[in-house]
């Protein structure tokens, strides 16, 4: 367990619905088997884009601040909000910049384009290769469990309430089968004119 991407644990998942997207994460921060904190959210908002970051916790914090800095500069230069597609490319190029000494992360981006209203999600590997998914993306130590859950629960064109139930059940049941994830969960349901953040009541073990 000296693999940097599974020292601290944690997982994220994002899904597309009908004119909405959802992104969720667990709340655990650990050092190998020892849980250090149950208040470690892994989703960060940058204007119209939401970024889920799993992997090595030090890199999660560093990158979230790097992107805060870069998005602030974007806002000053462009005098407009960053869209999810643009942010995804920013994430990709920032990660590839560290091609031979990478950040040990598994990022996921979700959001709705404020101009077109199109839902957008994507995932990345640690050096920034983008996975453009139409349905769902997963990341973190319970990614196998999340793949199994999402592949069997997800269906096209879910309304926001149904999408919330689907992503929550996928996340909760996946993290309950992973010792490195859990200890609380957060889910964001994003529609064109509203963002709802929910803290889920979960098993604490």
């Amino acid at each position: 367990m000296s693999d940097p991407s599974s020292i601290n644990g944690g997982s994220v998942v994002a899904m597309v619905g009908k004119d909405c997207v959802a992104i969720g994460c667990d709340m655990r921060l650990g050092m190998q088997a020892l849980t250090v904190s149950n208040d470690f959210p892994k989703i960060f908002q940058f204007n119209n884009a939401f970024l889920g970051l799993t992997g090595l916790a030090t890199d999660v914090i560093t990158l979230s601040e790097v992107f805060r800095y870069k998005v602030n500069l974007y806002n000053l230069r462009e005098e407009r909000k960053i869209e999810p597609e643009t942010f995804a490319n920013l994430v990709s190029s920032s990660l590839y910049e560290k091609r031979f000494g990478p950040y040990f992360v598994g990022p996921v981006v979700a959001g709705i384009n404020s101009k077109s209203g199109h839902p957008y999600i994507c995932g990345f590997d640690l050096i920034g290769c983008i996975n453009f998914a139409k349905d769902f993306v997963v990341g973190g130590t319970s990614s196998e469990q999340l793949f199994g859950m999402c592949e069997s629960l997800w269906e096209p064109d879910l309304e926001p309430d149904d999408l919330f139930e689907t992503i929550s059940q996928a996340l909760l049941n996946a993290q309950d089968r992973d010792a490195m994830s859990g200890w609380g969960a957060i889910v964001y349901i994003i529609t064109k004119d509203k963002v709802v953040k929910r803290l889920l009541k979960t098993r604490q073990d």
């Binding site: 031979f100 990478p102 050096i127 196998e144 469990q145 793949f147 199994g148 859950m149 592949e151 069997s152 629960l153 929550s168 059940q169 909760l172 049941n173 996946a174 309950d176 089968r177 979960t202």
Partner: protein, 242 residues
């Protein structure tokens, strides 16, 4: 991984380290199995793909076996297929000897304990398998027992084993044992109820279709064996072949 240490070809030739060759007695043949117990039935299902690494050796190599006893017992040992086949063959012999010695068919509970002793008997050179047994208990209810490679076992309502166990197991927690589901009226956690045979088979097909979609070692065909007091029925279902 993405980086390998750079070795200068010239110095590599000069300081050619001795290469150690070693026989490896194990390999992984992929595949996944799944068992669910009902009120008066049990099902044991498995895909029929047989692999080594990225190669598909066979698209139809069934691995869910019916033991030669009456009432029948279903067993599958998933993992390294040579060990699985050997375990099932020897178990079949032991089950027949049991009927000769005791003049009665073996119960699933006794069969499970027998498997434990057989697996633990090879504690220091284990059968490299995840074993699942399904049958009807002495009250006629569905019974599922699952084992680790060295014989630690437990009776359960459902269990997935093999390559895609990590994909299927949380789905089973959610849909069979109703984990993380709450009653809308009372707000209390839902408690598991027995599924009908039709619903069980639908669930098994969904679980395998999903696992096939995301796991390269699962696919080709699904073989579902259903055990009731009438005997064993077999159902086949096509899975994706890519």
């Amino acid at each position: 991984m993405y980086s390998e240490p750079y070795i200068d070809p010239a110095s590599a030739h000069a300081a050619a380290a001795p290469i150690e060759h070693r026989f490896n007695p194990y390999s992984d043949n992929g595949g996944t199995i799944l068992a669910i117990a009902g009120s008066d039935f049990a099902v044991l299902a498995g895909d029929t793909r047989h692999t080594t690494g990225y190669s598909i050796n066979s698209r139809f190599q069934p691995k869910v076996h019916t033991l030669p006893c009456d009432p029948p017992i279903l067993v599958s040992a998933n993992g390294y297929s040579a060990d699985g086949d050997t375990l099932v063959r020897r178990l079949g012999q032991r089950v027949q000897w049991y009927s000769y010695n005791h003049n009665k068919a073996i119960s699933v509970a006794a069969c499970a304990r027998l498997i434990q002793t057989m697996l633990y008997g090879k504690r220091f050179f284990p059968y490299y398998v995840h074993t699942i047994v399904a049958g009807l208990d002495e009250e006629g209810r569905g019974a599922v027992y699952s084992f680790d490679p060295v014989g630690s076992y437990e009776r359960e309502q459902c269990r997935a084993g093999g390559a895609a166990a990590s994909l299927i197991m949380p789905f089973l927690d959610n849909q069979v044992n109703l984990k993380n589901q709450y009653d809308v009226q009372t707000g209390e956690p839902k408690t598991a109820v027995y599924l009908s045979l039709d619903d069980t088979i639908k669930l098994v097909k969904d679980a395998f279709s999903s696992a096939t979609e995301r796991h390269i070692h699962v696919g080709d065909h699904l073989e579902i064996k259903i055990i009731t007091k009438e005997g064993v029925k077999v159902e086949y279902f096509p899975l994706k072949r890519d």
